[in-house]
Protein backbone atom coordinates (compact mmCIF):
# COMPACT_ATOMS: atom_id res chain seq x y z
CA UNK A 1 0.00 0.00 0.00
CA UNK A 2 2.92 2.28 0.71
CA UNK A 3 4.02 1.91 -2.89
CA UNK A 4 0.54 2.90 -4.07
CA UNK A 5 0.70 6.03 -1.88
CA UNK A 6 4.07 6.86 -3.34
CA UNK A 7 2.75 6.37 -6.89
CA UNK A 8 -0.47 8.25 -6.15
CA UNK A 9 1.44 11.32 -4.97
CA UNK A 10 3.33 11.40 -8.25
CA UNK A 11 0.81 10.15 -10.85
CA UNK A 12 -2.60 10.49 -9.14
CA UNK A 13 -3.22 6.83 -9.99
CA UNK A 14 -6.13 6.49 -7.55
CA UNK A 15 -8.01 9.21 -9.38
CA UNK A 16 -7.17 7.58 -12.71
CA UNK A 17 -8.44 4.18 -11.54
CA UNK A 18 -11.65 5.78 -10.31
CA UNK A 19 -12.32 7.60 -13.58
CA UNK A 20 -11.39 4.70 -15.83
CA UNK A 21 -12.62 1.72 -13.81
CA UNK A 22 -14.18 1.77 -10.36
CA UNK A 23 -16.37 4.85 -10.78
CA UNK A 24 -17.04 4.36 -14.46
CA UNK A 25 -20.52 2.85 -14.50
CA UNK A 26 -22.04 0.51 -17.03
CA UNK A 27 -25.87 0.26 -17.25
CA UNK A 28 -27.50 -2.88 -15.86
CA UNK A 29 -29.85 -3.27 -18.81
CA UNK A 30 -27.27 -4.53 -21.26
CA UNK A 31 -26.81 -8.06 -22.60
CA UNK A 32 -23.86 -10.21 -23.58
CA UNK A 33 -23.43 -8.33 -26.85
CA UNK A 34 -21.87 -5.56 -24.78
CA UNK A 35 -18.97 -7.86 -23.95
CA UNK A 36 -17.56 -7.75 -27.47
CA UNK A 37 -15.68 -4.48 -27.03
CA UNK A 38 -13.37 -6.05 -24.46
CA UNK A 39 -13.14 -9.19 -26.64
CA UNK A 40 -11.79 -7.01 -29.46
CA UNK A 41 -9.10 -5.73 -27.08
CA UNK A 42 -8.24 -9.32 -26.17
CA UNK A 43 -7.92 -10.34 -29.83
CA UNK A 44 -5.86 -7.24 -30.55
CA UNK A 45 -3.49 -8.15 -27.72
CA UNK A 46 -3.19 -11.69 -29.12
CA UNK A 47 -2.40 -10.26 -32.57
CA UNK A 48 0.28 -7.94 -31.20
CA UNK A 49 2.01 -10.63 -29.15
CA UNK A 50 1.88 -13.34 -31.83
CA UNK A 51 2.90 -10.72 -34.41
CA UNK A 52 6.00 -9.75 -32.45
CA UNK A 53 7.15 -13.37 -32.36
CA UNK A 54 6.55 -13.83 -36.11
CA UNK A 55 8.50 -10.63 -36.70
CA UNK A 56 11.61 -12.23 -35.21
CA UNK A 57 11.93 -14.67 -38.14
CA UNK A 58 9.95 -13.08 -40.96
CA UNK A 59 11.95 -11.56 -43.85
CA UNK A 60 10.27 -8.80 -45.85
CA UNK A 61 12.03 -9.54 -49.13
CA UNK A 62 10.32 -11.02 -52.19
CA UNK A 63 13.04 -13.71 -52.50
CA UNK A 64 13.02 -14.68 -48.83
CA UNK A 65 9.51 -13.98 -47.55
CA UNK A 66 7.79 -17.19 -48.68
CA UNK A 67 10.45 -19.49 -47.22
CA UNK A 68 10.84 -17.46 -44.05
CA UNK A 69 7.15 -18.12 -43.38
CA UNK A 70 6.61 -21.59 -44.80
CA UNK A 71 9.97 -23.09 -43.98
CA UNK A 72 11.66 -21.17 -41.16
CA UNK A 73 8.62 -20.28 -39.07
CA UNK A 74 6.52 -23.34 -39.90
CA UNK A 75 9.21 -26.04 -39.80
CA UNK A 76 12.38 -24.82 -38.12
CA UNK A 77 11.34 -22.50 -35.31
CA UNK A 78 10.04 -24.47 -32.36
CA UNK A 79 6.35 -23.66 -31.92
CA UNK A 80 6.64 -21.25 -34.84
CA UNK A 81 3.53 -22.87 -36.35
CA UNK A 82 1.64 -22.01 -33.18
CA UNK A 83 2.37 -18.32 -33.51
CA UNK A 84 1.53 -18.29 -37.20
CA UNK A 85 -1.74 -20.15 -36.75
CA UNK A 86 -2.64 -17.96 -33.78
CA UNK A 87 -1.91 -14.81 -35.77
CA UNK A 88 -3.88 -15.96 -38.82
CA UNK A 89 -6.87 -17.20 -36.82
CA UNK A 90 -6.87 -14.07 -34.62
CA UNK A 91 -6.90 -11.85 -37.72
CA UNK A 92 -9.91 -13.71 -39.02
CA UNK A 93 -11.73 -13.80 -35.69
CA UNK A 94 -11.00 -10.10 -35.16
CA UNK A 95 -13.46 -9.35 -37.94
CA UNK A 96 -16.06 -11.68 -36.47
CA UNK A 97 -15.98 -9.87 -33.12
CA UNK A 98 -15.77 -6.50 -34.89
CA UNK A 99 -18.87 -7.25 -36.96
CA UNK A 100 -20.83 -8.36 -33.90
CA UNK A 101 -19.68 -5.25 -32.00
CA UNK A 102 -20.71 -3.00 -34.91
CA UNK A 103 -24.03 -4.79 -35.49
CA UNK A 104 -24.85 -4.32 -31.80
CA UNK A 105 -24.10 -0.63 -32.18
CA UNK A 106 -26.34 -0.39 -35.22
CA UNK A 107 -29.26 -2.32 -33.70
CA UNK A 108 -29.33 -0.45 -30.38
CA UNK A 109 -28.63 2.95 -31.97
CA UNK A 110 -25.34 3.38 -30.15
CA UNK A 111 -24.13 5.67 -32.96
CA UNK A 112 -26.72 8.33 -32.12
CA UNK A 113 -26.15 11.55 -30.20
CA UNK A 114 -24.20 11.96 -28.02
CA UNK A 115 -22.13 8.98 -29.24
CA UNK A 116 -21.24 10.12 -32.77
CA UNK A 117 -17.54 10.37 -31.93
CA UNK A 118 -17.63 6.86 -30.48
CA UNK A 119 -19.14 5.61 -33.74
CA UNK A 120 -16.81 7.58 -36.05
CA UNK A 121 -13.62 6.60 -34.21
CA UNK A 122 -14.93 3.03 -34.12
CA UNK A 123 -15.52 3.12 -37.85
CA UNK A 124 -12.04 4.51 -38.46
CA UNK A 125 -10.73 1.62 -36.36
CA UNK A 126 -12.63 -0.81 -38.59
CA UNK A 127 -11.13 0.71 -41.75
CA UNK A 128 -7.64 0.71 -40.20
CA UNK A 129 -8.11 -2.91 -39.19
CA UNK A 130 -9.15 -3.75 -42.76
CA UNK A 131 -6.00 -2.01 -44.06
CA UNK A 132 -3.88 -3.90 -41.52
CA UNK A 133 -5.41 -7.21 -42.57
CA UNK A 134 -4.92 -6.39 -46.26
CA UNK A 135 -1.25 -5.37 -45.90
CA UNK A 136 -0.57 -8.33 -43.62
CA UNK A 137 -2.11 -10.73 -46.10
CA UNK A 138 0.59 -9.88 -48.67
CA UNK A 139 3.45 -10.76 -46.33
CA UNK A 140 3.56 -14.59 -46.77
CA UNK A 141 4.09 -13.85 -50.51
CA UNK A 142 1.96 -16.75 -51.72
CA UNK A 143 -0.23 -16.76 -54.82
CA UNK A 144 -3.34 -15.58 -52.97
CA UNK A 145 -1.35 -12.88 -51.15
CA UNK A 146 0.09 -11.66 -54.39
CA UNK A 147 -3.06 -11.58 -56.46
CA UNK A 148 -5.14 -10.00 -53.71
CA UNK A 149 -2.60 -7.15 -53.57
CA UNK A 150 -2.42 -6.96 -57.37
CA UNK A 151 -6.20 -6.68 -57.87
CA UNK A 152 -6.87 -4.32 -54.97
CA UNK A 153 -4.05 -1.94 -55.94
CA UNK A 154 -5.36 -2.02 -59.52
CA UNK A 155 -8.61 -0.55 -58.20
CA UNK A 156 -6.79 2.77 -57.71
CA UNK A 157 -6.12 2.86 -61.46
CA UNK A 158 -9.70 3.91 -62.03
CA UNK A 159 -9.34 7.18 -60.12
CA UNK A 160 -9.62 9.92 -62.77
CA UNK A 161 -6.39 11.60 -64.00
CA UNK A 162 -3.93 10.44 -61.34
CA UNK A 163 -5.02 6.76 -61.19
CA UNK A 164 -2.38 5.00 -63.35
CA UNK A 165 0.51 6.96 -61.81
CA UNK A 166 -0.91 6.47 -58.34
CA UNK A 167 -0.88 2.68 -58.77
CA UNK A 168 2.78 2.67 -59.79
CA UNK A 169 3.52 4.94 -56.84
CA UNK A 170 1.70 2.70 -54.35
CA UNK A 171 3.47 -0.40 -55.69
CA UNK A 172 6.85 1.25 -56.22
CA UNK A 173 6.95 -0.77 -59.44
CA UNK A 174 4.83 -1.46 -62.51
CA UNK A 175 3.56 -4.58 -60.78
CA UNK A 176 3.35 -5.73 -57.16
CA UNK A 177 6.99 -6.51 -56.41
CA UNK A 178 9.65 -6.41 -53.72
CA UNK A 179 9.16 -2.67 -53.08
CA UNK A 180 5.44 -3.27 -52.50
CA UNK A 181 6.11 -6.12 -50.08
CA UNK A 182 8.56 -4.13 -47.99
CA UNK A 183 6.36 -1.04 -47.71
CA UNK A 184 3.29 -3.11 -46.89
CA UNK A 185 5.41 -4.76 -44.22
CA UNK A 186 6.31 -1.36 -42.73
CA UNK A 187 2.68 -0.28 -42.75
CA UNK A 188 1.51 -3.58 -41.27
CA UNK A 189 3.95 -3.79 -38.38
CA UNK A 190 4.47 -0.14 -37.42
CA UNK A 191 2.31 2.54 -38.96
CA UNK A 192 -1.15 0.95 -38.91
CA UNK A 193 -0.86 -0.64 -35.42
CA UNK A 194 0.27 2.75 -34.11
CA UNK A 195 -2.77 4.44 -35.59
CA UNK A 196 -4.95 1.63 -34.24
CA UNK A 197 -3.67 2.27 -30.73
CA UNK A 198 -4.18 6.03 -31.02
CA UNK A 199 -7.75 5.68 -32.26
CA UNK A 200 -8.51 3.00 -29.68
CA UNK A 201 -7.46 5.49 -27.00
CA UNK A 202 -9.79 8.16 -28.42
CA UNK A 203 -12.60 5.59 -28.79
CA UNK A 204 -12.31 4.49 -25.15
CA UNK A 205 -11.93 8.05 -23.91
CA UNK A 206 -15.12 9.03 -25.76
CA UNK A 207 -16.98 6.09 -24.20
CA UNK A 208 -15.81 7.19 -20.75
CA UNK A 209 -17.35 10.62 -21.39
CA UNK A 210 -20.74 9.61 -22.83
CA UNK A 211 -21.08 6.17 -21.23
CA UNK A 212 -22.39 2.94 -22.73
CA UNK A 213 -25.75 2.82 -24.45
CA UNK A 214 -28.24 0.18 -23.23
CA UNK A 215 -30.92 -2.19 -24.50
CA UNK A 216 -33.69 0.38 -24.14
CA UNK A 217 -31.68 3.26 -25.56
CA UNK A 218 -32.85 5.51 -22.75
CA UNK A 219 -30.02 7.63 -21.37
CA UNK A 220 -29.04 7.13 -17.73
CA UNK A 221 -27.21 9.77 -15.76
CA UNK A 222 -24.11 8.86 -13.82
CA UNK A 223 -26.07 9.31 -10.57
CA UNK A 224 -28.77 6.90 -11.73
CA UNK A 225 -26.16 4.34 -12.70
CA UNK A 226 -24.35 4.83 -9.40
CA UNK A 227 -27.54 4.27 -7.41
CA UNK A 228 -29.11 1.09 -8.69
CA UNK A 229 -29.34 1.29 -12.47
CA UNK A 230 -25.70 0.53 -13.19
CA UNK A 231 -22.64 -1.37 -12.07
CA UNK A 232 -19.03 -0.24 -11.83
CA UNK A 233 -16.89 -1.34 -14.79
CA UNK A 234 -14.36 -2.71 -12.31
CA UNK A 235 -14.79 -5.11 -10.63
CA UNK A 236 -18.45 -5.97 -11.32
CA UNK A 237 -18.67 -5.71 -15.11
CA UNK A 238 -15.25 -7.21 -15.67
CA UNK A 239 -16.07 -10.16 -13.37
CA UNK A 240 -18.71 -11.21 -15.90
CA UNK A 241 -16.50 -10.23 -18.80
CA UNK A 242 -13.79 -12.63 -17.60
CA UNK A 243 -16.28 -15.44 -17.94
CA UNK A 244 -17.10 -14.38 -21.51
CA UNK A 245 -13.38 -14.07 -22.30
CA UNK A 246 -12.77 -17.58 -20.94
CA UNK A 247 -15.50 -19.10 -23.10
CA UNK A 248 -14.29 -17.09 -26.08
CA UNK A 249 -10.70 -18.26 -25.62
CA UNK A 250 -11.80 -21.90 -25.49
CA UNK A 251 -13.51 -21.35 -28.86
CA UNK A 252 -10.53 -19.37 -30.17
CA UNK A 253 -7.90 -21.95 -29.27
CA UNK A 254 -10.13 -24.73 -30.54
CA UNK A 255 -9.90 -22.94 -33.90
CA UNK A 256 -6.15 -22.40 -33.56
CA UNK A 257 -5.44 -26.06 -32.81
CA UNK A 258 -8.09 -27.91 -34.79
CA UNK A 259 -9.64 -25.65 -37.41
CA UNK A 260 -6.83 -23.26 -38.35
CA UNK A 261 -7.11 -24.21 -42.01
CA UNK A 262 -10.06 -21.89 -42.54
CA UNK A 263 -7.64 -18.99 -42.08
CA UNK A 264 -4.91 -20.48 -44.30
CA UNK A 265 -5.89 -20.73 -47.95
CA UNK A 266 -4.25 -23.72 -49.69
CA UNK A 267 -3.55 -21.59 -52.80
CA UNK A 268 -1.33 -19.38 -50.65
CA UNK A 269 1.10 -22.25 -50.16
CA UNK A 270 2.27 -21.76 -53.76
CA UNK A 271 4.88 -19.00 -54.01
CA UNK A 272 3.80 -15.76 -55.69
CA UNK A 273 4.04 -15.90 -59.48
CA UNK A 274 3.39 -12.68 -61.31
CA UNK A 275 2.81 -14.47 -64.60
CA UNK A 276 0.13 -16.87 -63.39
CA UNK A 277 -3.18 -15.85 -61.85
CA UNK A 278 -4.77 -18.65 -59.79
CA UNK A 279 -7.91 -19.92 -61.53
CA UNK A 280 -10.28 -18.69 -58.85
CA UNK A 281 -9.31 -15.82 -56.59
CA UNK A 282 -11.33 -14.42 -53.73
CA UNK A 283 -10.60 -12.34 -50.64
CA UNK A 284 -10.69 -13.57 -47.06
CA UNK A 285 -14.21 -14.19 -45.77
CA UNK A 286 -14.46 -10.85 -43.95
CA UNK A 287 -14.14 -8.85 -47.17
CA UNK A 288 -16.43 -11.06 -49.26
CA UNK A 289 -19.58 -8.95 -48.74
CA UNK A 290 -17.89 -5.77 -49.97
CA UNK A 291 -16.21 -7.72 -52.76
CA UNK A 292 -19.60 -9.04 -53.85
CA UNK A 293 -20.90 -5.45 -54.04
CA UNK A 294 -17.95 -4.70 -56.35
CA UNK A 295 -18.88 -7.64 -58.56
CA UNK A 296 -22.61 -7.17 -58.09
CA UNK A 297 -22.77 -4.36 -60.63
CA UNK A 298 -21.40 -6.78 -63.21
CA UNK A 299 -22.65 -4.74 -66.18
CA UNK A 300 -20.64 -1.62 -65.35
CA UNK A 301 -17.18 -1.65 -63.90
CA UNK A 302 -17.23 1.98 -62.83
CA UNK A 303 -20.57 1.60 -61.08
CA UNK A 304 -19.22 -1.47 -59.30
CA UNK A 305 -16.23 0.48 -58.06
CA UNK A 306 -18.27 3.41 -56.83
CA UNK A 307 -20.65 0.99 -55.11
CA UNK A 308 -17.71 -0.84 -53.54
CA UNK A 309 -16.20 2.32 -52.06
CA UNK A 310 -19.62 3.51 -50.93
CA UNK A 311 -20.41 0.15 -49.32
CA UNK A 312 -17.21 0.36 -47.26
CA UNK A 313 -17.80 3.87 -45.98
CA UNK A 314 -21.55 4.51 -45.96
CA UNK A 315 -22.03 3.05 -42.49
CA UNK A 316 -19.73 5.77 -41.11
CA UNK A 317 -22.53 8.25 -41.82
CA UNK A 318 -25.20 6.37 -39.85
CA UNK A 319 -25.60 9.12 -37.21
CA UNK A 320 -26.73 11.49 -39.97
CA UNK A 321 -28.74 8.99 -42.01
CA UNK A 322 -30.80 7.78 -39.07
CA UNK A 323 -32.17 10.83 -37.30
CA UNK A 324 -35.01 9.11 -35.44
CA UNK A 325 -35.17 10.23 -31.80
CA UNK A 326 -35.75 6.61 -30.72
CA UNK A 327 -32.43 4.82 -30.19
CA UNK A 328 -32.95 1.14 -29.54
CA UNK A 329 -34.15 -1.28 -32.21
CA UNK A 330 -36.23 -2.91 -29.46
CA UNK A 331 -38.61 0.05 -29.65
CA UNK A 332 -38.53 0.51 -33.42
CA UNK A 333 -40.60 -2.19 -35.17
CA UNK A 334 -39.82 -0.95 -38.71
CA UNK A 335 -36.13 -0.50 -38.04
CA UNK A 336 -35.97 -3.94 -36.44
CA UNK A 337 -37.23 -5.58 -39.64
CA UNK A 338 -34.83 -3.56 -41.81
CA UNK A 339 -31.93 -4.37 -39.52
CA UNK A 340 -32.45 -8.11 -39.71
CA UNK A 341 -32.89 -7.94 -43.49
CA UNK A 342 -29.60 -6.05 -43.62
CA UNK A 343 -27.80 -8.64 -41.47
CA UNK A 344 -29.22 -11.46 -43.59
CA UNK A 345 -28.19 -9.61 -46.74
CA UNK A 346 -24.64 -9.15 -45.41
CA UNK A 347 -24.40 -12.90 -44.76
CA UNK A 348 -25.94 -13.59 -48.18
CA UNK A 349 -23.38 -11.34 -49.92
CA UNK A 350 -20.58 -13.01 -47.96
CA UNK A 351 -21.65 -16.45 -49.19
CA UNK A 352 -22.15 -15.22 -52.75
CA UNK A 353 -18.72 -13.57 -52.75
CA UNK A 354 -17.12 -17.01 -52.73
CA UNK A 355 -19.16 -18.36 -55.65
CA UNK A 356 -18.25 -17.78 -59.31
CA UNK A 357 -19.79 -14.56 -60.66
CA UNK A 358 -21.73 -16.11 -63.52
CA UNK A 359 -25.36 -16.49 -64.59
CA UNK A 360 -27.83 -16.45 -61.74
CA UNK A 361 -25.14 -15.67 -59.15
CA UNK A 362 -24.32 -12.42 -60.95
CA UNK A 363 -27.94 -11.30 -60.71
CA UNK A 364 -28.27 -12.43 -57.11
CA UNK A 365 -25.14 -10.41 -56.33
CA UNK A 366 -26.72 -7.38 -57.98
CA UNK A 367 -29.95 -7.83 -55.98
CA UNK A 368 -28.00 -8.33 -52.75
CA UNK A 369 -26.00 -5.16 -53.39
CA UNK A 370 -29.18 -3.16 -53.92
CA UNK A 371 -30.64 -4.48 -50.65
CA UNK A 372 -27.41 -3.49 -48.88
CA UNK A 373 -27.79 0.13 -49.97
CA UNK A 374 -31.57 0.08 -49.53
CA UNK A 375 -31.04 -0.31 -45.78
CA UNK A 376 -29.07 2.92 -45.56
CA UNK A 377 -31.32 4.90 -47.88
CA UNK A 378 -34.42 3.74 -46.03
CA UNK A 379 -33.13 5.16 -42.75
CA UNK A 380 -34.01 8.84 -43.38
CA UNK A 381 -37.51 7.72 -44.46
CA UNK A 382 -38.29 5.59 -41.42
CA UNK A 383 -36.78 8.30 -39.22
CA UNK A 384 -39.44 10.66 -40.56
CA UNK A 385 -42.20 8.13 -40.08
CA UNK A 386 -41.14 7.58 -36.47
CA UNK A 387 -40.88 11.30 -35.78
CA UNK A 388 -44.41 11.85 -37.10
CA UNK A 389 -45.74 9.00 -34.96
CA UNK A 390 -44.13 10.49 -31.87
CA UNK A 391 -45.62 13.93 -32.54
CA UNK A 392 -49.06 12.42 -33.24
CA UNK A 393 -48.94 10.41 -30.05
CA UNK A 394 -48.54 13.47 -27.85
Amino acid sequence: MKFMDWLDERLAVRQLIKVMLTEYYVPKNINFLWSFGVLIMVVFAILVVSGIFLLMYYKPDSHLAFDSVNKTIMMDVEYGWLFRHTHAVAASIMFLVLYVHMARGIYYGSFKAPREIVWITGYILFVLMAATAFTGYLLPWGQMSYWAAQTITTLFEKIPFIGPDLVVWIRGNYIVEDATLTRFFALHVVFLPLLLIVFTAIHLYAVRIVGSNNEDGIELTKEEKKHGKGIPFWPVFMAKEFFVISVFLIFFFYLVFYQYKFAMDPINFTPADYLQTPTHIYPEWYFLAFYEVLRGFFFSQNLGLIAFVLSMFIAAFLPWLDTSPIKSGNHRPLYKILFFIFVADFVFLTILGKLPPTGLYAWLGFAGSLVYFAFFFALPIISRIEKKKLEGGR
Binding site: W147, W169, I175, Y274, Q276, F298, Q301, T358
Partner: protein, 168 residues
Amino acid sequence: MADEKVSRRDFLLYAMGAWAAVGVGSVLYAMYKTWEPLPEVKAQATVTFDLSSVEPGQIKVVSWRGKPVFVLRRTPDMAKCDGRSVKGDYTVVLGICTHLGCIPNWEPDKKIWHCPCHGGEYDACGKNIFGPPPRPLDVPPFKLEGNTIVLGEEGPEYKQMKEKGLTV
Protein backbone atom coordinates in the same frame (compact mmCIF):
# COMPACT_ATOMS: atom_id res chain seq x y z
CA MET B 1 -7.87 44.61 -29.90
CA ALA B 2 -9.48 43.43 -33.12
CA ASP B 3 -8.96 46.61 -35.08
CA GLU B 4 -5.34 46.89 -34.09
CA LYS B 5 -2.67 46.30 -36.66
CA VAL B 6 -0.94 42.93 -36.63
CA SER B 7 1.00 42.91 -33.43
CA ARG B 8 4.56 41.72 -33.08
CA ARG B 9 3.38 38.56 -31.37
CA ASP B 10 0.86 37.81 -34.14
CA PHE B 11 3.49 38.42 -36.76
CA LEU B 12 5.87 36.01 -35.10
CA LEU B 13 3.06 33.47 -34.86
CA TYR B 14 2.21 33.76 -38.57
CA ALA B 15 5.87 33.63 -39.53
CA MET B 16 6.36 30.52 -37.45
CA GLY B 17 3.22 28.95 -38.93
CA ALA B 18 4.35 29.67 -42.49
CA TRP B 19 7.83 28.34 -41.80
CA ALA B 20 6.37 25.19 -40.23
CA ALA B 21 4.12 24.74 -43.29
CA VAL B 22 7.17 24.92 -45.55
CA GLY B 23 8.86 22.31 -43.35
CA VAL B 24 5.86 19.98 -43.33
CA GLY B 25 5.43 20.41 -47.09
CA SER B 26 9.05 19.54 -47.78
CA VAL B 27 8.95 16.50 -45.55
CA LEU B 28 5.74 15.25 -47.21
CA TYR B 29 7.34 15.74 -50.64
CA ALA B 30 10.41 13.77 -49.58
CA MET B 31 8.18 11.02 -48.19
CA TYR B 32 6.19 10.98 -51.44
CA LYS B 33 9.38 10.64 -53.50
CA THR B 34 10.65 7.69 -51.46
CA TRP B 35 7.73 5.62 -52.76
CA GLU B 36 8.55 6.17 -56.44
CA PRO B 37 9.94 3.20 -58.40
CA LEU B 38 13.71 2.81 -57.99
CA PRO B 39 16.05 3.60 -60.91
CA GLU B 40 16.71 -0.11 -61.51
CA VAL B 41 12.96 -0.64 -61.91
CA LYS B 42 12.61 2.28 -64.31
CA ALA B 43 15.57 0.91 -66.28
CA GLN B 44 13.74 -2.29 -67.30
CA ALA B 45 11.98 -0.20 -69.90
CA THR B 46 12.52 -2.06 -73.21
CA VAL B 47 12.56 -5.71 -74.32
CA THR B 48 13.24 -7.11 -77.82
CA PHE B 49 11.58 -10.23 -79.20
CA ASP B 50 11.85 -12.18 -82.46
CA LEU B 51 8.35 -12.53 -83.94
CA SER B 52 9.37 -15.28 -86.40
CA SER B 53 10.00 -17.63 -83.50
CA VAL B 54 6.24 -18.01 -83.03
CA GLU B 55 4.55 -20.78 -85.06
CA PRO B 56 1.08 -20.17 -86.55
CA GLY B 57 -1.58 -20.77 -83.89
CA GLN B 58 1.07 -20.62 -81.19
CA ILE B 59 1.18 -18.12 -78.34
CA LYS B 60 4.28 -16.93 -76.52
CA VAL B 61 4.49 -14.85 -73.37
CA VAL B 62 7.16 -12.16 -73.11
CA SER B 63 7.87 -10.47 -69.81
CA TRP B 64 8.01 -6.68 -70.12
CA ARG B 65 8.21 -4.38 -67.09
CA GLY B 66 7.13 -7.36 -65.02
CA LYS B 67 3.98 -7.68 -67.09
CA PRO B 68 3.20 -10.53 -69.47
CA VAL B 69 2.91 -9.61 -73.15
CA PHE B 70 1.04 -12.17 -75.29
CA VAL B 71 2.43 -12.72 -78.77
CA LEU B 72 -0.08 -14.70 -80.84
CA ARG B 73 0.41 -15.72 -84.46
CA ARG B 74 -3.12 -16.08 -85.71
CA THR B 75 -4.43 -18.80 -88.03
CA PRO B 76 -7.15 -18.03 -90.62
CA ASP B 77 -9.91 -19.58 -88.48
CA MET B 78 -9.41 -16.99 -85.74
CA ALA B 79 -11.08 -13.59 -85.47
CA LYS B 80 -10.07 -10.98 -88.07
CA CYS B 81 -8.44 -7.91 -86.57
CA ASP B 82 -8.91 -4.52 -88.18
CA GLY B 83 -5.83 -2.50 -87.41
CA ARG B 84 -5.14 -4.28 -84.13
CA SER B 85 -2.36 -6.48 -85.58
CA VAL B 86 1.09 -5.15 -84.96
CA LYS B 87 2.23 -6.89 -88.16
CA GLY B 88 0.53 -9.39 -90.49
CA ASP B 89 -1.02 -12.16 -88.42
CA TYR B 90 0.55 -11.16 -85.14
CA THR B 91 -1.51 -10.07 -82.15
CA VAL B 92 0.67 -8.46 -79.50
CA VAL B 93 -1.24 -7.44 -76.38
CA LEU B 94 -0.57 -6.81 -72.73
CA GLY B 95 -1.76 -9.93 -70.91
CA ILE B 96 -3.49 -8.05 -68.16
CA CYS B 97 -7.25 -8.09 -67.91
CA THR B 98 -8.53 -4.52 -68.32
CA HIS B 99 -11.03 -5.24 -65.57
CA LEU B 100 -8.93 -5.81 -62.45
CA GLY B 101 -5.50 -6.80 -63.65
CA CYS B 102 -5.63 -10.59 -63.56
CA ILE B 103 -3.89 -12.60 -66.28
CA PRO B 104 -6.29 -14.17 -68.79
CA ASN B 105 -5.61 -17.73 -69.97
CA TRP B 106 -5.63 -18.75 -73.65
CA GLU B 107 -8.21 -21.40 -74.41
CA PRO B 108 -7.01 -23.04 -77.63
CA ASP B 109 -10.28 -24.89 -78.34
CA LYS B 110 -12.40 -21.72 -78.19
CA LYS B 111 -9.58 -19.49 -79.46
CA ILE B 112 -10.25 -16.87 -76.81
CA TRP B 113 -8.58 -15.51 -73.70
CA HIS B 114 -10.60 -16.21 -70.58
CA CYS B 115 -10.00 -14.27 -67.37
CA PRO B 116 -10.18 -16.56 -64.32
CA CYS B 117 -11.04 -13.77 -61.88
CA HIS B 118 -14.35 -12.42 -63.08
CA GLY B 119 -15.06 -14.33 -66.27
CA GLY B 120 -14.08 -11.72 -68.88
CA GLU B 121 -13.35 -12.99 -72.41
CA TYR B 122 -11.26 -11.62 -75.29
CA ASP B 123 -11.05 -12.83 -78.88
CA ALA B 124 -7.80 -13.55 -80.77
CA CYS B 125 -7.38 -9.81 -81.44
CA GLY B 126 -7.59 -9.05 -77.74
CA LYS B 127 -11.05 -7.50 -78.13
CA ASN B 128 -13.31 -7.87 -75.12
CA ILE B 129 -16.28 -10.00 -76.16
CA PHE B 130 -17.86 -10.93 -72.83
CA GLY B 131 -18.01 -10.02 -69.14
CA PRO B 132 -16.85 -7.06 -67.09
CA PRO B 133 -13.75 -5.86 -69.02
CA PRO B 134 -14.46 -2.30 -70.19
CA ARG B 135 -12.08 -2.33 -73.19
CA PRO B 136 -9.83 -4.63 -75.26
CA LEU B 137 -6.47 -5.77 -73.97
CA ASP B 138 -3.96 -2.93 -74.29
CA VAL B 139 -1.35 -2.98 -77.04
CA PRO B 140 2.00 -2.14 -75.42
CA PRO B 141 4.20 0.58 -76.98
CA PHE B 142 6.26 -1.19 -79.70
CA LYS B 143 8.67 -0.56 -82.54
CA LEU B 144 9.22 -2.94 -85.46
CA GLU B 145 12.70 -3.71 -86.78
CA GLY B 146 12.12 -6.31 -89.50
CA ASN B 147 10.92 -9.44 -87.70
CA THR B 148 12.00 -8.09 -84.34
CA ILE B 149 9.70 -6.18 -82.05
CA VAL B 150 10.97 -3.76 -79.40
CA LEU B 151 8.55 -3.38 -76.51
CA GLY B 152 8.60 -0.10 -74.62
CA GLU B 153 9.48 2.15 -77.55
CA GLU B 154 6.98 3.96 -79.74
CA GLY B 155 7.59 3.18 -83.44
CA PRO B 156 5.61 4.65 -86.38
CA GLU B 157 3.23 1.64 -86.50
CA TYR B 158 2.40 2.07 -82.84
CA LYS B 159 1.84 5.80 -83.25
CA GLN B 160 -0.56 5.12 -86.13
CA MET B 161 -2.53 2.66 -84.03
CA LYS B 162 -2.52 5.07 -81.13
CA GLU B 163 -3.92 7.88 -83.27
CA LYS B 164 -6.77 5.61 -84.32
CA GLY B 165 -7.34 4.82 -80.65
CA LEU B 166 -6.71 1.10 -81.19
CA THR B 167 -3.99 0.63 -78.58
CA VAL B 168 -6.24 0.86 -75.54
